[in-house]
């Protein structure tokens, strides 16, 4: 798989579902026979993966939200990790 460009549009694989785990006070990504535990930032990134926003849009939204810059590498590597597990897909 080639690394995603900033114009790529990430979305959750339809098999995966974002879910609040009230008991353990965290967000998780559920999929067949498994789950990934998310930190608050991870959950926020996935919340922005709506199949419309591009990678660049997502980074810009987060940078604006936190008054930060240079988040692109963190966001990309987080999503690449999930893409490697087949949980995130990229559209163009």
């Amino acid at each position: 798989m080639n690394p995603a460009t900033s114009a790529a549009v990430p979305r959750l694989h339809p098999k995966a579902r974002l879910q609040r785990d009230d008991v353990r006070k965290r967000d998780v990504l559920l999929y067949p026979e498994g789950l990934v535990t998310l930190n608050p930032t991870g959950a926020e990134i996935l919340g922005l993966c709506d199949g419309v926003r591009s990678l660049a849009d997502i980074v810009a939204t987060l940078e604006q939200r936190y008054g930060a810059s240079g988040l692109e590498r963190d966001v990309t590597s987080f999503l690449e990790g999930l893409a490697a597990k087949g949980l995130v897909l990229y559209g163009g």
């Binding site: 579902r17 008991v23 559920l30 789950l35």
Partner: protein, 374 residues
């Protein structure tokens, strides 16, 4: 740290149109202990209580869960609670309409078994003509947009088909194929000497799995459940006794796995008489093998005890009569010679071209006959 369950396997009924001789259901499934199934309201309460304890993954299983006419209601309740639901089914006579209704109710994932790659062998192993229904149901599953797992239990009569089975799952567009080497509990333990493969069969199948994994990458996940009689160390059974997983039986008993009811030295409580939370946290049976304090040597001082949790209590009970013994498949266990003898007997018989013993198929009359003999 206190154990919080993540997984609930809801065995909705032990009725099943298939008769697979390796069924993991209890040998006495047709007996009084399992007869009075939980009602819709009781199951919904179990789901609510499970979610409050920390459960996120729900398996709807059996027997054949499609035989419950309230399955759609149970799925809808699971979805409202935020549980990720998997239907674990034989797909016998499953229609596209029923599957679509389950999709509307919020079902997340479908797992359909197949007994072999071709209809003739698959129907023979299932004891019921069902292969055609399964192929149709695989197509419905993908047409309705479900993620699909193809599940195959592997044994002496179908291990040579591993490549064909993987190709079938690929062709069907499945996300996962579970190649589950037979674990010897329930009906499989009863039929062990007929089902157990040879080392050569296992080695050949494992070569295929490695090659196919390299070819398919993330397109198709190939899960290979280890044949533990042929391993050196035990499996980390259920990730530890009553640590993250529970099974609720059709009549509401709570077990730490789907085989534990066979351990006659433990008394399992039911959700009809106690809240799930009390059963999980306090009941004697679920406390009995939690953590490490129950472990005998060689487990107690073994570095692997945090890896395999002492292996499987059900296997210890079945093979040694003592649920607290070290898992006999462990090469360090005092009872390992019993396992080696079972494996060696199959190798010898195969080398001498002696036909395997005949199979006892899973069916109510056989269940009652076996229970009467005990």
């Amino acid at each position: 740290m206190e154990a919080k369950p993540l997984w609930l396997l809801a065995e909705l009924t032990y009725k099943c149109p298939l008769q697979c001789p390796y069924c993991s259901n209890p040998l006495d499934f047709a007996g009084a202990r399992f007869r009075t199934e939980l009602t819709t309201e009781e199951w919904c309460r179990v789901f609510r209580e499970a979610k409050a304890l920390g459960v996120l993954q729900l398996g709807l299983s059996g027997g054949e869960p499609l035989l419950r006419p309230d399955l759609e209601t149970l799925v809808a309740t699971a979805r409202e609670l935020g549980l990720y639901s998997s239907l674990i089914t034989s797909a016998y006579r499953l229609t596209k309409d029923r599957l679509a209704a389950l999709k509307r109710a919020g079902l997340d994932h479908v797992q359909i078994s197949v007994q072999a790659a071709d209809a003739e062998l698959s129907d023979r192993i299932a004891g019921t003509v069902s292969h055609r229904d399964k192929l149709a149901a695989y197509r419905y599953t993908k047409e309705l947009g479900f993620p699909l797992t193809v599940n195959v239990v592997l044994h002496r009569a179908n291990l040579h088909q591993v490549e064909a089975l993987i190709r079938l799952a690929e062709l069907l567009g499945a996300e996962r194929i579970e190649l589950a080497n037979t674990q010897f509990y329930g009906w499989a333990f009863h039929n062990r000497d007929a089902l157990m493969p040879t080392k050569a069969q296992l080695d050949a199948a494992w070569q295929v799995v490695q090659r196919e994994r390299a070819r398919l990458g993330t397109r198709l996940e190939i899960v290979w459940v280890l044949p533990d009689y042929h391993e050196q160390f035990p499996k980390p059974c259920m990730g530890g006794w009553a640590r993250a997983y529970m099974t609720v039986t059709p009549a509401g008993e709570v077990w730490p796995c789907h085989a534990a009811g066979r351990i006659t030295t433990l008394r399992f409580e039911t959700v009809r008489e106690h809240p799930l939370e009390w059963i999980w946290r306090e009941s004697e049976a679920l406390q009995r093998f939690r953590g490490e304090s129950w472990m005998p040597e060689p487990c107690r001082s073994c570095a692997r005890r945090a890896v395999d949790f002492g292996g499987c209590r059900c296997q210890a009970f079945l093979v040694t009569g003592d649920a607290g013994a070290t898992d006999p498949v462990c090469s360090l266990a005092p009872h390992r010679p019993v396992i080696d003898a079972a494996v060696a007997a199959v190798e010898r018989a195969t080398a001498a071209r002696i036909a395997p013993p005949s199979l006892t198929y899973r069916a109510a009359p056989a269940s009652r006959a076996l229970a009467a003999k005990e």
